[in-house]
């Protein structure tokens, strides 16, 4: 048996979707012109599939901060924080996040994925029970697997279903770890955090919220869904990423309990991974200031999100359940999704195609992510492209 024989089925599925035409699973952006425009296969396109929610990847202050860091600190740290030591910027960013989030402990990680592996995978060991929303991101599932916890799923965004499963656990529920996300990456919907907090108050447990898609996006100060719904004090640990609203790469965990710092000595994904490059940290520190000082970025983001959501809805598309910077267009089949995705590319719009089993309910999604940096003109172009492809008599068919 060959080393890669087990991927035969995967290869066949990929081949059925990836013929000689442009396909969505090997996209290369050859040039970037702005947070919202790039060059793909010789065509200038509007980027609406980047999760660049605040458009800060081209923020002049962040670029300048990163350039200065490159000159002063070099290109990389060349090792882990435990073995090689942290740079001043790592510590400074942690202190700034402590202040911004009003929490006692923050740890910065190399990516958001690593933050989840490091925190969840270490806290949720083989003696722990984890209750996770069925639609949680793969990094959360992987983290649970790493730690070996007993994992029980509850139905997506269903606090009553969580409660039912916690009741079954009896006394063990008091020490269970509950995992949800601020904004879910597939459908763009928000967790019913108040209801989940109510369940936690009644039955116990520890609540961890992954704010990867909601940090910088929700809340009066951009701290995320926990701030938006005024339940921050009930959320034990916030997890987040620097690769979306903050426009760089890295991740963090933030806790009200200073003892979380102990994870620095217990978490293998923290100990055995190279630390974030100093220039990435410098740009994140600058972007964090933008989130603090420029609330108009969030206002613009939501204004754009509402415009796109309403435009697509008016065109007759079936969308995720609520207005969100992640707008999912739901389709009947992978081939229908691929046809729409390709036709949008031809019309100068880049979005994401997401196929089962990565999607909830085995649906196919063409997923748009909105940016504060999109102009209304660009949003209207995206709406126009979608509208021109809408067949009122049935599903979108592949272009001949």
């Amino acid at each position: 048996m060959g080393l890669f024989d087990k991927f035969t089925k995967l290869a066949a599925e990929r081949a059925s979707l990836c013929d000689s035409q442009i396909h969505p699973f090997g996209i290369r952006i050859d040039e970037m012109y702005s947070p919202t425009e790039g060059l793909i296969q010789g065509k200038r396109v509007i980027l609406a599939g980047t999760n660049n929610y605040l458009g800060l990847t081209f923020d002049p202050a962040s670029i300048k901060a990163a350039q200065r860091s490159l000159e002063l600190e070099g290109t990389g740290t060349t090792g882990s924080r435990m073995a090689n030591g942290s740079y001043a910027g790592h510590g400074a960013l942690e202190e700034e996040l402590v202040d911004f989030l009003g929490r006692r402990s923050v740890i910065v990680f190399s990516t958001g994925y690593v933050a989840n592996l490091a925190v969840i995978g270490t806290l949720a060991g083989s003696r722990e029970v984890v209750l996770l929303d069925a639609d949680c991101h793969a990094s959360i599932y992987d983290a649970c697997k790493l730690g070996g916890a007993e994992v029980i799923r509850f139905r997506h965004n269903d606090a009553a279903d969580l409660e039912r499963r916690m009741v079954r656990l009896g006394e063990r529920a008091r020490e269970a770890i509950i995992l949800v996300e601020g904004i879910y990456s597939m459908l763009g919907d928000q967790a019913p955090l108040r209801e989940i907090v109510e369940v936690k108050r009644r039955l116990g447990g520890y609540l961890l919220v992954d704010e990867a898609h909601s940090f910088g996006v929700l809340g009066a100060n951009g701290r995320g869904l926990a701030e938006e719904l005024d339940v921050d004090s009930e959320v034990d640990i916030l997890l987040g990423t620097f690769s979306k609203s903050l426009g760089a790469v890295g991740g963090f965990a933030a806790c009200h309990d200073a003892q979380m710092d102990l994870l620095r000595y217990a978490s293998r994904p923290y100990i055995f991974t190279a630390s974030p490059s100093p220039s990435a940290i410098a740009s994140v520190r600058s972007a964090l200031l933008a989130i603090r000082n420029r609330p108009q970025l969030r206002s613009q983001l939501w204004s754009n999100a509402r415009r796109l959501y309403q435009g697509l809805q008016a065109s007759g598309y079936q969308l995720g359940p609520q207005v969100s910077p992640v707008i999912a267009v739901m389709l009947k089949s992978p081939h229908e999704g691929l046809a729409l995705w390709r036709a949008l590319m031809e019309r100068g719009v880049y979005v994401n195609l997401v196929l089962p089993p990565a999607t909830p309910g085995a649906i196919t999604l063409v997923r748009c992510s909105v940016s504060a940096a999109h102009s209304f003109g660009q949003i209207d172009h995206i709406i126009g492209a979608f509208a021109s492809l809408r067949d009122p008599t049935g599903p979108v068919e592949a272009d001949a």
Binding site: A134, E150, V151, I152, R155, R168, L169, P356, P357, A362
Partner: protein, 86 residues
């Protein structure tokens, strides 16, 4: 008292909506190989089984379970631990 045979019967009935239409299901059918059930479907099925039998079934069980018979056996074990009635 519910018997293991009754549990198996209920398990097999519950699997039907998750399997391709018309596919025969017997106690030794391999959920992944024979029914082509992807992990997400198997996990959704576990949620249904939890509600059907009012027990907690953690995902780790999937490392040892491949067929309806094995699933029924695991459920019997879990129910015994839950209240000792089986």
């Amino acid at each position: 008292m519910i018997t293991q045979e009754e549990i198996l019967e209920r398990v097999m009935k519950l699997i039907v909506p998750f399997a391709p239409p018309g596919t025969p299901i017997n106690p030794d059918t391999d959920l992944a190989q024979d029914l082509g059930m992807e992990s997400i479907k198997v996990m959704d099925m576990l949620m249904e089984l939890e509600d059907e039998f009012d027990i907690s079934i953690h995902l780790n069980i999937l490392m040892d379970v491949r067929t309806p018979a094995q699933l029924a056996h695991a459920i019997v074990d879990l129910m015994e631990h839950a209240d000792g009635t089986v």
